[in-house]
Symmetry: C2
Subunit: 121 residues, 2 copies
DNA sequence: AGTTTGTTTTGACATTCATCGAATCAGTGT
DNA sequence: ACACTGATTCGATGAATGTCAAAACAAACT
């Protein structure tokens, strides 16, 4: 998919920075779509409850939905809300087995977050 | 290259799952402080404008503040607001040189985000 | 002094978000 | 059929957020 790359400015050049009279080199911008997509993934993680949920899923590769509520200290309704946001963001998935629903993390999406920031380099 | 690797979860372990009568293994929870800290960093990136700003900074390791406004299509006031949020989150830093202010990314903080997701582990 | 330009803060507004109670849906039982 | 339990959705409320115009601040220049 479209990940970074880009190298917007001459690679080894531009060590001299404009100090006066000229400040702005155009410097390419990420597309609106890519920025919104990435921001959406970050938004999905921008809450302590959801961070805890993800943390639990990263430690035990499958967690019963019934376990989240007590662990994060929120009502079942609120917990379900957070689970839905994480699901909609494509970060986790859950399947029902009988009475209970088990959630797993989708590792590819987390890797996508890291790569999008070009942190791996 | 920056791609994949990572093996997100313990390879062959934990294949027996509770299916009936018992669903919840305690499964350790992240501390409130850690969760809030992490969520705060994600929140700082949970907006397209701020993602664009960070993207620009990752591509050119120093960008004049005057350049952001046009690139992200927001007013100077709004741009300044977003820069402040990124600054407060410790993700970027800016220093004034004469008339203009130049921003840089603080790579350590971004690495912290990646590590916190325990993708490398 | 005053002017000009770049940046931040203030104030206000509209939108989004987190939270919970209550109602509803989904499965498993009796 | 009914009851029970786990999970989701609905509705409402208070808080947080993004946005901009206007004012204030900072630095350089006349």
């Amino acid at each position: 998919m479209t990940t970074t790359a880009i190298s917007p400015i001459a690679p080894g050049s531009a060590r001299t920075l404009p100090v006066l009279n000229d400040c702005c080199t155009p410097s390419s911008t990420m597309s609106d779509d890519d920025a919104s997509l990435l921001a959406g993934m970050f938004k999905a993680l921008a809450d302590p409850a959801r961070v805890k949920i993800l943390s639990m899923l990263l430690n035990a590769d499958e967690v019963c939905a019934c376990d989240f509520s007590a662990s994060i200290g929120k009502t079942a309704a609120t917990t379900s809300h957070h689970l839905k946001l994480l699901r909609d963001a494509g970060l986790i998935t859950g399947d029902r087995r009988g009475t209970w629903i088990y959630y797993r993390v989708i590792p590819e999406r987390l890797v996508a977050i890291r790569d999008a920031l070009s942190l791996g380099r």
